[in-house]
């Protein structure tokens, strides 16, 4: 296991290690080479908190066709680390159909907490993007994963114009697959991505795992259920098959759809799936539901500052 981790680190574009130093989580290794930059500012969380914050930045603010960025992260036992970005990750147009790729392999120690709370990925027209994140955890590890993407620079009319987007998230609990997720959106002649996405511009997934996050999970499940149940109602007979309405650009569909599902044999994990018309509404959603992480991270994720 140690040999494999070392091999991954040797080949990586970025290496990050967070370990306990004098009782506080500290970044003990922070290496990155072009096109990745890792910054670990010390002023994000108050000194009392003891959580390490790391920003992953790409030169030029985006990922160019053919770039491959791999990151190896280790969060030591009982440590707390938050990894985020400075702004949304832009994936530029594909050149010669080359795919851009980001790979993350993280090991989260016992009683540790890793929060991966980036801004969304925005793929430009014709872009091809592949992302794989693998998390190795223990039964009492804690994990927050926010993985989300937009339809493009949709305010300028670039909506679902990318060619290929695939995101894979694997959580491995002591060598057993606990959470295996893969989402693929590929442009095809038969059904465009835009048609499939029906006027929505943002797709987000939030994973919460571990004993420390139980109360956040429970609260999110309750609130999402309350929020959605008022928006779902059986079609009335007037709205049934006897009425012909002009096809809406989804003005009648809820502007934000969210659903939560527990996972794992002991229900220690929860995944929320969100689709929304605006990125701002998802920032709002994340800010609200992840606010309680401030007590662990020292700062609230996605705070509007």
């Amino acid at each position: 296991m140690a040999g494999l981790a070392a091999a991954v680190e040797a080949a990586a574009t970025g290496v990050l290690r967070v370990e306990k130093v004098r009782g506080r989580s500290a970044v003990t290794r922070c290496f990155a080479k072009y096109p990745l930059k890792l910054i670990a500012p010390s002023k994000v969380a108050p000194a009392s908190c003891g959580a390490a914050w790391i920003y992953a930045i790409t030169y030029g603010g985006g990922i160019v066709s053919g770039d491959r960025i791999s990151c190896a992260v280790t969060v030591g036992d009982a440590c707390t680390a938050a990894m985020t970005t400075q702004s949304s990750t832009k994936v530029y147009k594909a050149v010669d159909s080359k795919c851009s790729e980001q790979v993350l392999e993280a090991r989260v120690g016992k009683d540790a907490l890793l929060a991966l709370i980036p801004d969304p990925v925005t793929c430009f027209s014709t872009a091809r993007y592949h992302q794989k994140q693998v998390f190795h955890v223990f039964t009492d590890s804690n994990l927050v994963i926010v993985d989300w993407f937009t339809s493009g620079r949709y305010e300028s009319g670039e909506k679902w114009k990318f060619s290929f987007y695939k995101s894979i998230n694997h959580i491995i609990l002591e060598d057993q697959p606990l959470f295996i997720d893969s989402v693929l959106l590929e442009e095809s002649s038969n059904c465009s991505i835009a048609d499939r996405m029906q006027g929505y511009n943002v797709v987000a997934m939030v994973v919460l795992l571990g004993p420390k996050l139980k109360h956040i999970q429970d609260q999110m499940q309750d609130e999402v259920k309350k929020m959605m149940s008022v928006q779902l109602r059986p079609p009335t007979s007037a709205g049934g098959r006897y009425t012909s309405r002009p096809q809406p650009l989804c003005p009648q569909m809820p502007p934000l759809i969210a659903s939560c599902s527990p996972f794992g044999r002991m229900g220690t994990g929860m995944v929320a799936r969100i689709t929304a018309v605006s990125t701002e509404s998802v920032y709002s959603f994340l800010r609200h539901h992840l606010a309680a992480l401030e007590s662990f991270l020292g700062a609230s994720p996605y705070s509007a500052s």
Binding site: K166, I168, Q176, P177, L178, F179, I180, D181, S182, V183, L184, L185, E186, N190, C191, D195, R196, M197, Q198, Y200, V203, V224, K225, M228, S229, Q231, L232, R233, P234, P235, G239, G240, R241, T243, S244, R245, C250, Q252, M253, P254, I257, A258, S259, C260, S261, P262, F263, V271, R273, I274, T275
Partner: protein
């Protein structure tokens, strides 16, 4: 049976009449086995098989209550999306189970699918349909010893969730379907069940539903050819909006279906 044919011809060269009779008898045996197989195949695909498929709408009910699907014209594209996602996410599990219908493969596939079906609504639907299908198949196909043994071994096991796709592939493999037919059959029963749910949700009448089913068949075949014969490491979902919506199923105050 075909291998025996040239040998028997050699042995009976001196008795031409006997050759004809022997060949004919063998052909009849091969024919009757084939014909017998058709009855099993049709029974497995018939909606009358009590596997509880009628309790699931594959996200259609949530789609209607969120106004994604409003009119009969919206059903076709919805069914196509469901079929695409079935192909991309579940067909690999059907295929791999039908290729190796044994205990070790089944357990691995079931556990992997348990981790892959992250949507609780579809996960529970898969478990309930899978266990119902296994119970029915074991009761019906008493002549398939492997099936009986597998069911006996794993009844009450905590290690297995009895997910639908691997069990479907397993049973089809043991009954004698070829891999392509098995995967096509899985797409067929999915299409059948969504369209059936649409009629019960009063979205479309039974006649129009039958017309639609025939029209969508071409798309279903295209999807089959696109997603067939893949390993489970390639399994991926391709309908994130549908996934988010189907996950809302339990939030609906009044609902007809389980999923």
């Amino acid at each position: 049976m075909e291998c025996d044919y040239p040998a028997s011809k050699k042995n009976k060269l001196t008795h031409p009449m006997d050759i004809d009779c022997t060949v004919k008898e063998e052909a009849t045996d091969a024919g009757s086995t084939n014909q017998h197989f058709h009855w099993s195949q049709w029974q497995l695909l018939d909606s009358i098989l009590p596997t509880g498929g009628f309790a699931h709408s594959y996200g259609l009910e949530a789609g209607m209550q969120s106004r994604m699907v409003n009119r009969p014209e919206d059903l076709g594209p919805f069914v196509v999306q469901v079929l695409e996602n079935t192909g991309s996410l579940l067909l690999p599990f059907v295929y791999c189970a039908s290729k190796s219908p044994d205990a070790a493969t089944w357990v691995k596939l079931d556990q992997l699918l348990e981790a892959t079906l992250t949507n609780e609504v579809s996960r529970k639907a898969s478990m309930s349909q899978g266990s119902a299908l296994l119970r029915v198949a074991a009761s019906v196909f008493t002549e398939i010893q492997t099936l009986q043994d597998l069911r006996q071994t794993f009844l009450g096991s905590k290690n297995l969730s009895f997910h639908h796709a691997p069990i479907f592939g397993l049973i089809c493999g043991l009954v004698g379907f070829d891999h392509e037919t098995t995967q096509r059959a899985y797409m067929f029963i999915t299409m059948r069940d969504v369209i059936s749910a649409a009629t019960r949700l009063n979205l479309i009448g039974p006649l129009a539903a039958s017309v639609l089913q025939h029209q969508v068949a071409a798309d279903a075949e295209r999807m089959l050819q696109k997603w067939r014969d893949r390993g489970v490491e390639a399994a991926t979902q391709t309908a994130p909006l549908l996934d988010a919506l189907q996950g809302c199923h339990a939030y609906m105050f009044s609902r007809l279906f389980c999923s």
